[in-house]
């Protein structure tokens, strides 16, 4: 196969992944609210009904519990459904289905029934969305055993991880950072990328490690860039998948620097960042020169657009946390 290079936005990369998966596997079907003629409110499913027909990509009545519940049944009967939740906060009516059935089916049937399905969720903030349009819901899903939880930070990863999520034998909650939908990158096809469950080091550095996922990765990279200009070398790890969690890569990275800051948009209390800080501390305590710091969202409902910038972890907050890592004078 000849390599093809194309510059794609994350939205286009996701669209391409859906198209390629549907072309490769006739059991892949896609449905949700406005995913047909409209192509989804973010246009991630643009053109798929036209290309594959109504039976493969279709609009449903407006009911998230129904959408996810129907996907469960279709997955039980030989199909690979992909469903779109229109926004993170509009997935909550499906929470019962996700927690009680999607996550538990394999376990309760002793492995006899598996659910190869993907729940795509436009996710997190930074787009000036009005109330209920910018939630960070990863902790709910990550806390639910039985779900894989994936959050890409680059267009190439969006493509690769979504293809893998669709092919996976287990259900995947696929979190698409809304603010990165329009970020662009040169992608080399076929995409070669590590699988779900593998973190990558996005930037090498020797003084401290920034651990981020999804929308926080560009923030961490920017912070590392600024730190470099101030003489501090920061390494950046992109988790790519929250569940399964790549302890090995993350811990190796932290051991190499001895200091770490976790950056995440969602509320810090009982969040994914807390889990990361705890498990890395348990595993790397003797290598740590300072307690691991978290830079997370405040423990408040997601604020309205005019106040959003106070909530989002920014470069300054990340660098302040790095400054706090007990540096020798």
């Amino acid at each position: 196969m000849i390599d093809v290079h194309e510059k794609l936005s994350m939205a286009q990369a996701l669209n391409r992944a859906l198209r390629d998966a549907m072309a490769d596997d006739p059991s892949v079907v896609l449905f949700g609210e406005d995913v047909g003629a409209l192509g989804g409110v973010f246009r991630i499913t643009d053109g798929l009904t036209a290309e594959f027909g109504e039976a493969r990509c279709f609009d449903t009545p407006l009911a998230e519990s129904g959408i996810v519940g129907m996907a469960v049944g279709m997955a039980m009967n030989g199909m690979r459904p992909i469903v779109e939740m229109q926004f993170d906060a509009f997935a909550y009516p499906a929470f019962e289905q996700i927690v009680s059935h999607v996550a538990k089916m394999r376990n309760r049937t002793r492995g006899r029934v598996s659910l190869p399905m993907v729940i795509r969720v436009p996710y997190a903030g930074g787009i000036g969305g009005v109330e209920h349009h910018c939630d960070s819901s990863e902790a709910y899903y990550a806390h639910t055993p039985g779900l894989h939880v994936v959050a890409p930070a680059t267009p190439a990863d969006a493509y690769a991880l979504l293809r893998e999520a669709i092919a996976a034998p287990d259900p995947v909650v696929f979190l698409e950072p809304k603010k990165l939908y329009w970020s662009k990158e040169e992608i080399e096809f076929p995409v070669r990328a590590p699988g779900i469950g593998t973190a990558v080091v996005r930037r090498a550095g020797t003084d401290a490690t920034l651990i981020a996922y999804g929308p926080s990765v560009p923030v961490a990279l920017e912070a590392a860039e600024v730190a470099a200009s101030e003489g501090r070398s920061l390494q950046v790890v992109d988790l790519r998948s929250i569940v399964p969690f790549d302890d090995e890569t993350v811990c190796a990275a932290v051991r190499s620097t001895g200091r770490a800051v976790v950056v995440a948009e969602s509320a810090g209390f009982a969040g994914v960042a807390a889990e990361i800080a705890a498990r890395v501390t348990e595993r790397c305590f003797t290598s740590l020169a300072a307690p691991i710091r978290r830079v997370a969202g405040f423990d408040i409902p997601y604020p309205p657009p005019k106040l959003e910038h106070f909530q989002l972890p920014g470069v300054d907050r990340v660098l302040d946390a790095v400054d706090d890592l007990q540096w020798e004078q």
Partner: protein, 359 residues
């Protein structure tokens, strides 16, 4: 089917009292009532279009307009007493305004200053609901509490055609029926849920037919006919107030504009379909009826337009004001008293700001 249960079914066609040409085809409310509604309609249209323009000017983040649905908006509020409750959706800003909410406060959500910009108790208007149909069980709760407390309150619970597919819609109807709660469920069927047409939303003969399964009478009404809306919704409110339980009313109307300014309706519907509904405009129709009867003079009509302009100017002035967002608000209302952790986080923001100021 017993005669009793047949009473739960809606009319064969939506109730119309003034047809699209402005002709009375049934028992119409008196002129004074309709004149008051016309004035409100004209202001409603002006506010819708002003808000839409303010989005283009960057003063609102987004606006889901009820342009074309103003008769539903006005009627929903006008059939209520001051002590009754209104539960609006994101599209029902105008209904909230007719119930008494200041339009500037009503649009705080969409301007982005704060989520709910008004005091829900002041005019008994619940915060706009965005997660579809989730407000409907709350409406039942408010109504049930009113009954338990011996208050004569009626609750108007609004949602769209798409919203009727959500589980909460069905749970709310069932609860209301079982508890005989004084709620009027008012569905504005504007034929679309973003891009999804009604035919893909429901296979029921009409949305009003959904009532019978819960033991709730359903009725359908021409949603662009002010007279019919006042009559049908008014009767439902009276019935609920008299202790005869909830009702479901479906208004047939049309979303004349895109879902919001962020939507591109050309991707899923024909402009010609929209044109057909221009002929059924609620304002043109009511105006024609009242003019024909000689009940509407040029002077009064001009007065209505002037009132509408004043309302639009008030909205412009309000939304053109930049309110300096106060970051303390982030932490002030999460709990009755802030947790120690929130106080720490508030202090962090204050410290950041003072350092920024010092720079």
């Amino acid at each position: 089917m017993t005669p009793d249960s047949r009473r739960l079914l809606p009319s064969d066609a939506p109730v119309t009292l003034i047809d699209a040409t402005g002709e009375a085809v049934g028992a119409v409310p008196d002129d004074a009532t309709l004149l008051r509604s016309l004035g409100a309609l004209i202001t409603a249209r002006r506010l819708n279009d002003q808000a839409y323009a303010l989005v283009r000017q960057g003063r609102l983040a987004v606006y889901p307009s009820s342009h074309g649905q103003e008769a539903c908006q006005v009627a929903a509020a006008q059939v209520l007493d001051a002590a009754d409750w209104l539960f609006p959706t994101y599209r029902d800003t105008v209904a909230a305004v007719v119930k008494g909410v200041d339009p500037v406060e009503a649009l705080s959500l969409l301007k982005g200053d704060w989520h709910c910009g008004y005091d829900p108790y002041e005019h008994r208007v619940a915060p706009h609901a965005t997660p579809l149909a989730t407000q409907l069980p709350h409406a039942v709760g408010v109504a049930h509490a009113a009954r338990l407390r011996g208050e004569p309150t009626v609750v108007m619970a609004m949602c769209g055609d798409g919203g009727t597919s959500e589980g909460d819609f069905h749970e709310a109807l069932n609860f209301a029926a079982v508890f005989q709660a004084p709620v009027v469920f008012f569905v504005q069927n504007n034929e679309y849920a973003i891009s999804v047409p009604l035919s893909r939303q429901s296979a029921a003969p009409s949305l009003a037919h959904k009532g019978i399964g819960y033991g709730i009478p359903g009725e359908r009404v021409d949603g662009n006919d002010m007279a019919a809306l006042l009559t049908v919704l008014g009767a439902a409110v009276q019935r609920a107030r008299a202790g005869e339980g909830p009702q479901l009313v479906e208004a047939h109307t049309y979303r004349m504009q895109a879902h919001t300014n962020a939507d591109d309706a050309s991707r899923y519907r024909d402009e010609a379909d929209v044109e057909a509904w221009v002929q059924r405009d609620p304002i043109t129709r009511l105006r024609a009826y009242l003019r024909d009867r000689g009940a509407l003079t040029d002077d009064v009509d001009a007065g209505f337009t002037a009132d509408a302009e004043r309302a639009a100017a008030h909205l412009r002035d309000g939304l053109n004001q930049d309110i300096e967002p106060n970051p303390e608000d982030l932490f002030a209302y999460v709990y009755a008293s802030a947790t120690p952790q929130l106080r720490e986080q508030a202090a962090l923001v204050a410290d950041e700001l003072s350092r920024e100021g010092a720079r």
